[in-house]
Symmetry: D2
Subunit: 279 residues, 4 copies
């Protein structure tokens, strides 16, 4: 039981919260290695993330914490171990490959239980890494049926998080609710934004000088939800459409990896449509 | 007459253009210091910018160039000297101050002829630099009348470019047409974009992790037109609205200065709604 | 007395420090708006910065804090008001101008008491802003005498911090000790570093692709000491030496402004030859 | 023969070079898709890179070019096809894995003929991609013998370029001369630089705020030679040594991939100890 724990607390703010939390941990002899906290003025919410070294009795500690925390406090005491994730993909390989390689060399902070794709294209690459690949085609069936098949597969795996590694189907509210705040997505981002089909083509035609990527938690449709992290990459007038797409892929895989690291280390809190990130 | 010249050519592409241009310059004994050219595949347009050292007869050279260039070719032979600019401002000081300081120390590649503001707020600062400040209030008069007063002032100054250094009034098509491709604007940019009033507030509420700025040529309304350059600056969950606005100001002044340098050195071509930038 | 305070604590780490500090503040009814803390593993040092809203009795609070803090704890309780600074300059204007403009428009978090230069070049610009400029030439006198004259001037101003805004003279240990951890310097930085005279020329000849700037606290000679912040800017093969110097100036003024904001808001701790920055 | 060609020219500068080159290409009916050229003032050298669409007779064209180019001109006419490369590795996987994945999905612009490692660690991963892995241990043999074994292997493969994908042995002048200007290396870079062993540890202890990576052509020892490209990544005081090394790996693999793309597309010229990069 020598592993560390992360304590995450989200509750309405009041005076003395930090004193209460830290005094309790001190009484139990726990060593706080890192603590970060934040009060969101607009909502009056308090957020804290603490890393505690060594052994603890999670259920008992949670009870004691709740005794002085506000009634609806959300408390999580999480042993620091690899999370379980499932990846959903379509045809683009760049994010999938990046995550499989990271897991293979042990730098992902997660175990990839399976990859689910709606095309068979990425199966051979996935199998190099001895990860099961499940083909669930969306063709010839209703969206509801398509999602049911995926949900059934997920049910078998019980993942902590679902990563949309360039999964190009919009998820229904039913799906999103089933894994609320536990689905991570990555998408390109431009200044300005381009709505609808062929966004790279539109960005190219508009002559944007930056291409960005946004990793976010999915809460309703594919490209919305609380933003975890964003990065950009510069492009020039002599970059063609293909160059811009390639640049986009580079930045997408970097941003998804960065976001996933933050999520898997329990550093991301959701507050309405935004995130608190204790990086 | 020891100054240098920039030759700018925009025309439909055909084989032999570069050979024709460079052979002609060679026959006249001109030394090409830098040449950059680009063919835009989508439009079949050819763009070139050449820096020529020393003396030349612009009118004669232009005639000779036109003899083998396609009929509607746009040719400009521009002596390298400081451009004349007028700044339009409202209340925000950061871009104005940055440009006045750069001109004062001779690093702007331009002479600021005057500052026109629709509030008196920035007059004292402007006058420190012995630049005339004209107050043209928009209050109590029609937009047409407001713009006519500004156009009349500009008429007297004959600027090469007009710089909207945080000028917060939308210009009419009449105004824009009068100085077509010669009005430079700067505005914040977000991923995603936020339409309408209070964009920083919306970006803050959405929890964006990057704040950007876009400098562009004005061709219709305030925040559109061919993009010259863009940059971003990261923000965090604990940056308040004020921090985000300050970060935005930092990046806006940097981007405007960068864009202006490119424009004043005749490096920017407009093609439809995008730019070719020979940086 | 409605201003806020920053409490800064640096001491050897022990269990219960945060609990002790926050409980004490809670008992006194103080509202902790922001708290950041860090334990440096290598040295076993604990660092904390707390923002407290409203009125407090600094001396009494410090006494109470010291009762449970380790013996040699360094405690500072600082009312949040503008710091007093003096700028030292030589001939380069870019950092000086940037800081004078920021102070003029109230965004500097500091009052610039005076500018001291070893050349008269920057006097006219400084005087536009009604800031006294003192010329202290280094010519014809010993370094000791030169520094004594500056120290005498500083003695009259009692600044909180001294900012070397491109001051090109190396300070003696005597000078540095007089204002220990209170002198901020900015200098260019390259990958790799270039020792000795004409670093830009060497960097140009080496074909570096990035130019950086480093803001740091001065502890012995000019270009060493704990780093506060660093940024870079890309350069290309067709950027001449002058372009590289200009790029360096852009990044130097941005980095110095960023570093100064961190210092003036009491966010920077020194630990040996490095900094802890609670940004 | 419908592939494109790149023409690369390096010679001493004289008037009329561009006119001569482009006129010749025009006479032969060749279509110049992209041309970039640069005159290095310090050395008086002219550099040009042209992309020509379609069929051409390379030997004949080179002869004709040489008739008006200065005597010692270096002319290369290179059909645009995938280059052949061999990777040298030690124990670190991040660059190797990145390149293998890029080749697997066809985005590398190169064929990886083989991987040579002085430890067996990376063999299993390499073999997933059906690329031969050769173990050449440096233990128990002289450096000369070690290099001879590698050179013999390379001799069999006839690679266009050798990529040191975190190969941690310094190459002798004999080795470097054999593949002059054809060996690409990647290494971390810091501001300031840290000489000798354990640079990350030194950078950590010094509290640097940026970690960089430099890709360069090897011309004498491991960490010198003309720089192709550089990037940086920010780090904070609470990033431990391990975090800094991880950040370094991220940036190293990104920079090596970027540099390799430039080299493999024949965009990089060497001039003394610096590069001209027509990106």
């Amino acid at each position: 039981m020598e592993k560390n724990h992360v304590i995450r607390i989200k509750c309405s703010d009041k005076k003395g919260l930090i004193a209460g939390i830290t005094s309790l941990l001190y009484q139990h002899g726990h060593n706080i290695m890192v603590m970060k906290e934040f009060v969101e003025t607009a909502t009056g919410q308090f957020f804290a993330r603490l890393e505690i070294a060594g052994e603890l009795h999670a259920a008992a500690l949670e009870d004691e914490l709740r005794q002085f925390l506000p009634p609806a406090a959300k408390v999580q005491i999480i042993p620091q171990q690899k999370k379980k994730i499932v990846l959903l993909v379509t045809k683009e390989y760049h994010c999938l490959a990046d995550l499989l390689v990271r897991q293979y060399f042990g730098e992902l902070h997660a175990e990839i239980l399976a990859v689910i794709g709606n095309y068979p294209l990425l199966e051979p690459f996935t199998e190099k890494f001895k990860i099961p690949f499940h083909l669930v085609s969306h063709e010839g069936i209703s969206k509801e049926e398509f999602e049911t098949r995926i949900l059934n597969l997920l049910q078998g795996y019980q993942p902590d998080y679902i990563v949309l590694a360039k999964f190009m189907r919009i998820l229904s509210p039913r799906f999103v609710q089933t894994y609320l705040d536990r689905i991570i997505n990555i998408h390109h981002s431009f200044l300005p934004a381009f709505i609808g089909a062929n966004p790279y083509k539109k960005a190219f035609e508009r002559g944007v000088k930056l291409i960005g990527a946004t990793a976010h938690i999915v809460n309703n449709d594919l490209d919305e939800g609380p933003i975890i992290t964003q990065q950009i990459i510069p492009v020039k007038h002599d970059d063609g459409l293909t160059d811009m797409i390639e640049a986009g892929h580079e930045i997408e895989k970097a941003v998804l990896a960065e976001a996933l690291k933050l999520v898997l280390e329990d550093r991301v809190f959701v507050s309405g449509n935004k995130t608190i990130v204790f990086s």
